[in-house]
């Protein structure tokens, strides 16, 4: 079974840009867009929809708000690059265990990988829809999954509890109440 190295894909349109801009949009650091992240955060998963959905949902629940549409990922598998086993920082043991860092020595080395990824952009994309994530969470809550129960009980994550409990499409959207 193919192993994937899943990373958040921030912009689908990045592929329409030059290699440098593609790399900036896809691998630019959170703090400074001009600096490429040479320790790329990825998750090691099997190439099946179930695992990709699980990783995508756990990552999203740990670091951001509930999804309002799809969540796109990009897989960076297949390169002879150092892959360091660095525990992740999510609220879930699976994604903590499956977290890796791809380590590049400099921008040139990363750009070589970026060029290949850009050329294979379509087949390296993986999409997780909001419906898949909503169904996954509810499935875990019905199964009384302790990690998901803890997350939904966390006051700082109350948006997730509400989102999971509301049928899709009926969620109150942020900002709407201020009109």
């Amino acid at each position: 079974m193919t192993i994937l190295l899943i990373r958040t894909l921030k912009r689908l349109t990045a592929v329409e840009e030059s290699l440098a801009t593609f790399a900036t949009l896809t691998f630019g650091s959170y703090k400074d867009i001009e600096v490429l992240d040479l320790d790329l955060s990825v998750y090691l998963v099997d190439d099946d929809e179930e695992q990709v959905t699980k990783v995508r949902t756990e990552h999203c629940a740990s670091f951001s708000s509930p999804p309002l549409s799809h969540e796109a990922s990009l897989t960076l598998h297949g390169f002879p690059v150092e892959i360091a086993e660095i525990p992740g920082a999510t609220d879930f043991s699976f994604t903590r265990q499956q977290h890796r860092e791809m380590r590049f020595i400099d921008n040139d080395e990363l750009l070589k990988v970026a060029a290949v990824v850009k050329g294979e952009f379509e087949r390296r994309q993986r999409f997780t829809t909001a419906e898949q994530m909503w169904e996954y969470i509810n499935q875990r809550l019905i199964a009384d999954d302790e990690e998901w129960r803890t997350l939904c009980d966390n006051r700082k994550k109350k948006k997730w509890k509400k989102w999971a409990a509301t049928p899709l499409g009926q969620n109150e959207l942020p900002g709407t109440e201020d009109v």
Partner: protein, 456 residues
């Protein structure tokens, strides 16, 4: 000693037939206390740096602390090691800053706290639970080895940490030891007791498939003082320490490639001139790893890069290195030979990225709205500013500028604006998103718009 507060730190005890007669301790046995002192201070430094997120221990913090024994208990071979720290006296001018606020005492007090924790860490590591001992830096293990240097095979030493004094009112468990401090000192935030492994993760964490050790699994937290096992550092444990400290045979080492970066803390290129070593050494504190710095051996051709970078940056320089990491059978790094050394660009204080826009949502929404105006930001930044503004600001403020950006000539900006709008309802918003989904020239924008429409 009146200018100091004295707290019990730990009890050090020698046992064995030679000490059963209770006729005192040989002077050579006391030499071990020097090793114990160094080990305590070095562990405390690691804890302090990590907790305070600082690279260096403040000047004077270590000197301000005394570790002393006052006497041996009558008829026994045990003594209490006392920790002395300056009294936080409001009238002491040297301890007060420009506006009368204590500036040094906070650091000294928190360093003293770290020494108390260091005593607990050493006790825990020596008690032989888990692999804690092997995780300690080698230099600290060497000092522990020296602590029992003069003892015979049938003798051992023990330490028992007394426990931290309480700087705040005691909780339900009650204080283990307490004393009164002026208000200023009570305001010092006590760091939470952290699990041992938090501070002593091995640098050379296994690569995928290399080891069954699961570093992601949570480990038990630091055990309270009252429940800790008092370790007996007997001949067997001293032999184990010797094994951990002894240089491994080259044949026992496994070589793997590693890449890491960090700030340089020491450079030694003397070896080149004197011919003692084939190349120079640089010590760096790797990012994302706490504990001891890593010593990197670099090739002669990299000397110019390293020294000129240090010169240009006034010794504050970050390097990224890739090379051969020599790991022993426990996966500990014993040697690192750099094959590639690259200087890492200094962080730009005016850097802009997603983090900055997230901060503006909370702190300065008006500024964020200004940044959405035409010509202010580069498109690679504008796309993220648009998404983050849309996610965090109210419809009444942000929808107008985002609808404008849907007509931007760069597809990356239109995509960012689309993501910004996905949390906002309204006929005009939906109509515009549908227009993009159906007619936009960019396949990426069309696909993004379709995804946003599906969830509305």
């Amino acid at each position: 000693m009146s200018d100091k507060i004295w707290e019990e730190l730990l009890v050090w005890r020698l046992s064995g037939p030679r000490f059963d007669e209770h006729r005192g301790v040989d002077l050579s046995d006391l030499a071990g206390l020097v090793g114990l002192r160094i080990a305590l201070i070095e562990v405390a430094k690691i804890l302090w740096r990590e907790r305070n997120n600082r690279e260096r221990i403040p000047d004077g913090a270590e000197k301000a602390i005394d570790l002393r024994i006052k006497r041996f208990e009558d008829g026994s071979e045990q003594t209490t090691v006392w920790l002395g720290r300056p009294k936080p006296v409001a009238s002491a001018p040297s301890q007060r800053g420009l506006f009368g606020t204590p500036v040094v005492l906070d650091d000294i007090a928190s360093f003293a706290e770290s020494i108390h924790d260091a005593a607990a860490v050493l006790q825990s590591a020596l008690s032989g639970e888990g692999d804690e001992l092997a995780r300690l830096p080698r230099e600290i293990l060497r000092q522990l080895q020296l602590t029992g240097r003069g003892l015979r095979d049938d003798e051992d030493w023990t330490i028992q940490a007394v426990g931290k004094p309480q700087l705040e009112p005691a909780g339900n468990d009650g204080p283990e030891y307490s004393y009164n401090l002026p208000t200023a000192a009570r305001t010092i935030a006590r760091p939470e007791a952290q699990p041992f492994y938090r501070y002593f993760l091995p640098l050379d964490r296994p690569q995928a498939g290399e080891s069954p050790v699961d570093t992601a699994q949570p480990r038990p937290p630091m055990v309270p003082a009252s429940a800790r096992i008092v370790p007996s550092v007997d001949a067997a444990l001293r032999a184990k320490l010797e094994t951990l400290v002894a240089p491994p045979k080259p044949s026992d080492l496994r070589i793997v490639q590693r890449t890491l970066s960090g700030e340089v803390t020491m450079v030694d290129v003397d070896g080149l001139a004197e011919g003692r070593r084939p190349h120079g050494r640089v010590r760096i504190r790797p990012e994302g790893h706490v504990g001891e710095p890593v010593e990197i051996e670099f090739l002669p051709q990299d000397e110019e890069l390293v020294t000129s970078a240090l010169y240009r940056h006034n010794n504050k320089v970050r390097l990224r290195v890739r090379g051969d990491a020599h790991l022993d059978e426990r996966g500990r790094l014993r040697r690192f030979e750099a094959r590639i050394v690259v200087e890492v660009k200094a962080p730009n204080p005016n850097a802009m990225g997603e983090e900055y826009f997230e901060r503006l949502v909370e702190e300065d929404p008006s500024r964020l709205l200004e940044l959405l105006q035409p010509g202010v930001l580069d498109p690679t930044l504008l796309t993220f500013a648009a998404e983050i503004a849309g996610r965090g600001l109210p419809t009444s403020l942000v929808v107008g500028p985002l609808l404008e950006l849907l007509r931007h000539d760069r597809s990356i900006v239109r995509e960012g604006a689309l993501y910004g709008l996905r949390g906002h309802r309204g006929l005009e918003v939906t109509t515009e998103i549908r227009r993009l989904a159906e007619t936009d020239s960019s396949p990426g924008v069309r696909r993004a718009a379709e995804g946003v429409l599906k969830s509305r």
